[in-house]
Symmetry: C2
Subunit: 281 residues, 2 copies
């Protein structure tokens, strides 16, 4: 298991693999790894000859009042998880390795980023697009693995990769949940005991919506009302957004006629949690 | 000599070269090739095992009132020049191959693009950054060759490549001139006989400035005045800009203390011509 701190080390390693004709899988993370990340790494290991995981809490995707400083960091534990899951190398650069003081290039995706988390977190997806394009250019993987929990991120990255002709296959992977249904997230560690219980409201609501869809409900506004009502029952939860959108374009849907994404973002105390599901039609 | 129309053909070709361990040089052009381009291709051929030239009049870097439709196109002549210069393949995609109708990703470089041509041609460098990042991702060359005539373009592309960690070496190449000093340009074909004579004002002014610098002049404003005076003598020339800027940051200079770029942009009739030199200190 290798811990790489420098871009040139990563390039050298990947080039040596390429010379041997080996395929490369890549899992970008911000560390604080949990079973969700583990499932991405294991899938990458199953589908590629060599797997690199990056662990980098990317400053440019946090807003000024967000949790960049507080975001959990534990590289030793992360290294252990990566090794056990079968990764060969962890790339854990310092911010100075990734960003010049006079950095002046930005990458942005319009449309897809104006809604949902993009509307609530201005600049967030510009930060994501910049760092992901940088990492993809450094690692040059055959396949890169992203968690479907960040559904909008997956849609944005797929669009960016298509538009910039980055030669990589983006593989979205299913959400991994706790036994009681809460989607795994590094931010779950912020929750108090009471908040942890209240956080179940996200998965409970999504299950409820799925059931209504299974029963044939196609009026998105009816579903939205139902969701708002259910959320109001949970005093510790403050809704950030709940939406029903087209699963490709992320555009607002009134009548459900094709595959949709149902994303939800809720503050539980000060912690912002997200969850979603895709309903195929 | 191969003519490639599709992205996947380019990828396949380059991957076959990579398997043989060959190095790849790349020359991006908008076609209408002249001795300036030829010098880039020959340098690329001298420094790489295989050379690809792209010929693509990129719509996204032309403003609404610019010469996209009128821009000279002659792929047969261009192919001949590429072949004679030693290139192995020409990539000449249609606009539909390069851009999706719902393209939504943009790449931009701030600071460096707010001045000179960037100030006069809003959106131009966003178009350049987008297409160059796409081509670099498609061709994945070891080295890419750009003419120093577009000095600002070179500075912007170098910054973008650095900031996005694109794994390519950008090689700027000297300006090639007609015997009488006019910088070679595809747009020179627009000039009437009288305009062609008037166009010499650009190189004449740059020579004059260089001489003053050689004589020890370090007051940039004195040089600017001298330039304006000289330009006024040529009735067919309408100044777009003349500047004296830092050669790295492209920032305005008052007292010349380190290496500078002296770029000039002039309308001769309806044709906009540019020229420049770098003065090393």
């Amino acid at each position: 298991m290798m811990l790489l701190k420098q871009i040139k080390e990563v390039r050298k390693l990947v080039k040596s693999w390429r010379k041997e004709g080996l395929t490369v899988g890549y899992v970008p993370t911000m560390g604080a790894l949990h079973e969700g990340h583990e499932s991405l790494i294991k899938r990458a290991v199953a589908e590629n000859d060599r797997v690199i995981v990056s662990v980098f809490v990317n400053p440019t995707q946090f807003g000024p009042n967000e949790d960049y400083d507080a975001y959990p960091r534990n590289i030793d534990k992360d290294m252990q998880l990566c090794m056990n899951a079968g990764a060969v190398a962890v790339f854990n650069p310092e911010p100075e390795e990734m960003y010049f003081d006079d950095k002046s290039t930005s990458v942005s995706v319009s449309g897809l980023t104006d809604v949902l988390c993009g509307a609530k977190r201005p600049g967030h997806f510009n930060g994501v697009c910049l760092i992901v394009s940088k990492f993809l250019n450094i690692v040059t993987p055959d396949k890169a693995y992203f968690g479907q929990k960040d559904a909008q991120q997956v849609a944005v990255i797929k669009r960016m990769v298509r538009d910039l002709n980055i030669d990589v296959e983006i593989i979205p992977c299913p959400i991994i949940r706790e036994e009681d249904g809460l989607a795994k997230s590094s931010r779950n560690t912020y929750l108090s005991y009471e908040e942890r219980k209240a956080a179940l409201v996200l998965s409970r609501i999504l299950q409820m919506v799925r059931k209504e869809l299974d029963n044939g409900e196609r009026d998105a506004n009816k579903l939205r009302e139902m969701i708002a009502e259910e959320l109001n029952k949970e005093p510790l939860a403050k809704i950030d957004y709940v939406e029903i959108v087209d699963s490709d374009s992320l555009k607002h849907v009134e009548v459900i006629e094709r595959s949709i994404l149902v994303p939800i973002a809720v503050y539980i105390g000060k912690t912002r949690l997200i969850d979603n599901f895709i309903y195929e039609l």
